[in-house]
Subunit: 235 residues, 6 copies
Amino acid sequence: MIRNDGRKIDELRPVKITVDYIKHAEGSCLIEFGDTKVICTASVEEKIPPFLKGTGQGWITAEYSMLPRATATRTIRESAKGRLTGRTQEIQRLIGRSVRSTVDLTALGEITVWIDCDVIQADGGTRTASITGAFVALYRALEKIDKLDAVKNFVAAVSVGIVGGEYLLDLNYEEDSIAEVDMNIVMNDVGEFVELQGTAEGKPFSRKDLEKLLSLGEKGITKLILKQKEILGVK
Amino acid sequence: MIRNDGRKIDELRPVKITVDYIKHAEGSCLIEFGDTKVICTASVEEKIPPFLKGTGQGWITAEYSMLPRATATRTIRESAKGRLTGRTQEIQRLIGRSVRSTVDLTALGEITVWIDCDVIQADGGTRTASITGAFVALYRALEKIDKLDAVKNFVAAVSVGIVGGEYLLDLNYEEDSIAEVDMNIVMNDVGEFVELQGTAEGKPFSRKDLEKLLSLGEKGITKLILKQKEILGVK
Amino acid sequence: MIRNDGRKIDELRPVKITVDYIKHAEGSCLIEFGDTKVICTASVEEKIPPFLKGTGQGWITAEYSMLPRATATRTIRESAKGRLTGRTQEIQRLIGRSVRSTVDLTALGEITVWIDCDVIQADGGTRTASITGAFVALYRALEKIDKLDAVKNFVAAVSVGIVGGEYLLDLNYEEDSIAEVDMNIVMNDVGEFVELQGTAEGKPFSRKDLEKLLSLGEKGITKLILKQKEILGVK
Amino acid sequence: MIRNDGRKIDELRPVKITVDYIKHAEGSCLIEFGDTKVICTASVEEKIPPFLKGTGQGWITAEYSMLPRATATRTIRESAKGRLTGRTQEIQRLIGRSVRSTVDLTALGEITVWIDCDVIQADGGTRTASITGAFVALYRALEKIDKLDAVKNFVAAVSVGIVGGEYLLDLNYEEDSIAEVDMNIVMNDVGEFVELQGTAEGKPFSRKDLEKLLSLGEKGITKLILKQKEILGVK
Amino acid sequence: MIRNDGRKIDELRPVKITVDYIKHAEGSCLIEFGDTKVICTASVEEKIPPFLKGTGQGWITAEYSMLPRATATRTIRESAKGRLTGRTQEIQRLIGRSVRSTVDLTALGEITVWIDCDVIQADGGTRTASITGAFVALYRALEKIDKLDAVKNFVAAVSVGIVGGEYLLDLNYEEDSIAEVDMNIVMNDVGEFVELQGTAEGKPFSRKDLEKLLSLGEKGITKLILKQKEILGVK
Amino acid sequence: MIRNDGRKIDELRPVKITVDYIKHAEGSCLIEFGDTKVICTASVEEKIPPFLKGTGQGWITAEYSMLPRATATRTIRESAKGRLTGRTQEIQRLIGRSVRSTVDLTALGEITVWIDCDVIQADGGTRTASITGAFVALYRALEKIDKLDAVKNFVAAVSVGIVGGEYLLDLNYEEDSIAEVDMNIVMNDVGEFVELQGTAEGKPFSRKDLEKLLSLGEKGITKLILKQKEILGVK
């Protein structure tokens, strides 16, 4: 089977990571999964949230947004609506948990790292590209403030799904919109799950389907983490 | 191993479902998973959301909330804050997708069913109790308006997790707050997954861990669906 | 004249108070005035609002809400709208003033008691049931923290009204919606008024009407306070 | 007893009503109760709210606000806070019900009259001055659009209270802030009650207290309605 | 050419300033530019905004609003909408910068002066009348707290524009709504610009047009400042 | 005098315009004024705002935002705050008026063009870069839908200012933050003003200063429009 963009079923879209994309941020990158493009920045603040006062521990939190015309038809700005959609909140919580899992917060000291993922062009997989790029921005920021010791693992994310009965890796928008099952896998560099979110959009899935999807995802994550390490000069 | 409330590791808390709990609602129940108590109602409205205009299809949507003192310390009302938290939005989207998966929306006709899950006392598992109760309320509402034909499947949900290295079914609050891994499984009555959400709170999990957790969850769901059928008089 | 639910014109609906209904709250009850059911909780917080800083005095404040399907047709959540309605604010201010009147705030010490009244099923008289139940929850909370000395009086509330020219006690929803005059009376256990709010919905009322309504209300309040005392084990 | 501003206990403050104060409004006045000054306008709109569609009936609604420096210390604008306080909502609902009671809404036809009461200087009694002035603005607006037939009654409002054990008419700010009991009476020109709101600020009040306060209020209202009629050229 | 209200093209509308219009405010006035009427108050608060902490410097900030029926058709309150319009924010920022330019903030000491401009009747030029009146209110407030030393300059504002090819001074609403070019000039008493905002509503304007408009504006400002000085008893 | 980035006082920063930067938008570009980078998109919608219903005329409106880490220290998202700042509203209104001035809205037909300017990196002059880029995006969009006939003029914008007594063209952030006078000039390709906004940040400015600044701005605009024409292939 050949996919609508010519890929094989277990093939990632071309991945491109431009590090230090934004000059002001401690860490940043522009990450591209095919036509999906996300600016990720990591900003270090010498402050911690109230619930951590006195623990000596740091914090990492994430925000996510899309430019209004990142999408095929223009989306109304959340700042104009005055509230975040449920989708946005769900995604930014997921990004936050994912990158937080890679760091020893105690070793960070009393700082907060703000991760911002802003999608400038969307073509499916914006949350997985965001997580993968967020880790790169975070890594660069911690490098800059000389806190790489706090990093325990690398983390990356990819989507998998069932489309027309086929198991596919890294769905683009067109595939995603007709998928029967859609799953986001967040995994670290020793092959462990950090997050697993599977949704039966149209048709519930069996345990056997799950097995196939997990293997496909694992394959994609391995390549993404390799790319991250290459870009960051880590062996 | 004996759990803090005397249960075995693969044992559900006592489940109690009081059907037709709210007199005004087309369908309703009070569902209890141990000390977790949720009022679920299903309200039928002769209207559909704009994006379905002209499709002849119906819709099911869900909202979720907690009374301020459902929790150990009082929580500020979202109505007082003027916005929903990310957690609330995440949960109500999950409930919505879960119950929607059980119904043939085309067979519903042009109506909207509003599912409301209001937690009056919380002790862990509020989202899984909500999904399990929401289906009961929905079933009763569809029975009342003579649309049971639209129901394709039963659905229930349960949490599983790893606590102190042990695989546990149906975590209570105390267990949940110290879990290394926390997973919510939504499954139908033929053993297929509708949703799967696993989070490594402290420690990433392996594929083997996942296998164990899924088996545990499947066991719990089977009992919950049995209970639903018994209560609703379905064989 | 026999009322739509078989009561006499000066008869209360069956009153039921289930104390300690919510396990987490310092004080709580489920109060039922016929089909009107309200969960009342009292939460003690070791903090006072800014305007009392340095006075050594405590505070009691109240919030009120209805579950969306407490009503005959579903009501949109105030958390979804992002703001409280005027009706809600009016009621919660009334509940706050009413219960505050029963306590010597100086004797409370520097704590805040949050009263939450959440209507789970509505059939008229939700504000009077809330006040009557709120006092019970407050009493239990103060008993628990050993501050019963601060309680100066009992308080209860009831509605009275003119319907079809008749003076009625404790209006249910159907009566309330066609009443010419609607009055809420909040009174303490020595027969003094704490609040009096009368509204001519359709037809202004005379001083003579007022006299009749007050006598009817007084009669109802006396019974409600008796019930509170019985439930709380106070002679 | 002489009051802090030299008045007798049953004496109103000087009342001044400047009709047609705002050139754009269909009806308007500046009303002064001593140092309390309120601009009242009545705006006619050829539209009715959704809940009246198809009834042929009109509507009257009211809004109330204070300029930030109407008060002794500057108050934050509700537009800056992004929400109305409970006090504001309570007052504007009261004004709305009060003026609505004077008009046969069926005779109005399908229009909405918006009453706006904006306090430019406050010294106690802003809600009673607002109601009294709102009626004048409404009357002028209905005169202008030739709908005086719809007016059934005049209405005015005054506060009464118990201060230091004395029964006082028309409390100014200083009196109001130390009152034991505070009551607002809204009455029509045949001596019937439209609204009655009594609050025991510090000390509950007896039925005898109530009698005294009502007589005092009736006296004040009579004078206010006389003033309205004189200003509006009605005999 | 004679204008719609009989003025000459370089003639201001009648200007009237009633000082000390609001009794509670440290400084206040009612300013009238023809039918445009604005209540301006200056409120002194013994506090400074966070960004000035520790600088020893004071602050002046401004807010602007219109009564709903200041305009020909009723405008919805910003407090009811829950947010300020862009127009309001633009105007209040302009007023703030304009009056701030007249004062040596270091000489103020650690206070904030809140300027409130509330338009009670609008007929064009509300922002220029507001600036001109705001300075008067500010001056009076500083006089009262004995800080006149901090005042470096007087400031006033006027609009100019091109209507039907004619250069006009101080546009009223009717002129403003058909103007090709609309410009607001804020100038001090030594003829220097504080703000200059020109907008081509319909037709871009040339440098020569600009020259003419500036000369016209300068003429108007001179007269306004003379009026301010006369009213404030300054030579 | 040499400026902090080596430019001459009348020299623009390097300008770079990448057309068709976002694939989904009808028109788009990435515009760079030195380190200031803005993504501008133009989205065509087959709908007009209510106030234009029935006029046959189209509309153009603009929104502006900055990514949180476009700035030296991270800025809180307006979507998180739930409201737009005054600065944002001021800028987006300015962009809207500026681009609207270039188009014959009647010739557009019943469409709305949404201009979005999203600053991804800020170093002074974000509003002038936005206007200049917005026109390019708009031009491309109108070209795509075959409506170039509606374009009457080109428009561009530049800032000028007085820094340390020197008149400077196109201020960068460092210059802008210490400028005595800051002025934004929006001009079309025949040298006419569309908008002129000058602010005396610290020191009021004379008419002579104004002359110098205008000449400097005119020079910059001429170059910017040349650049636009070159990029768009217009002679």
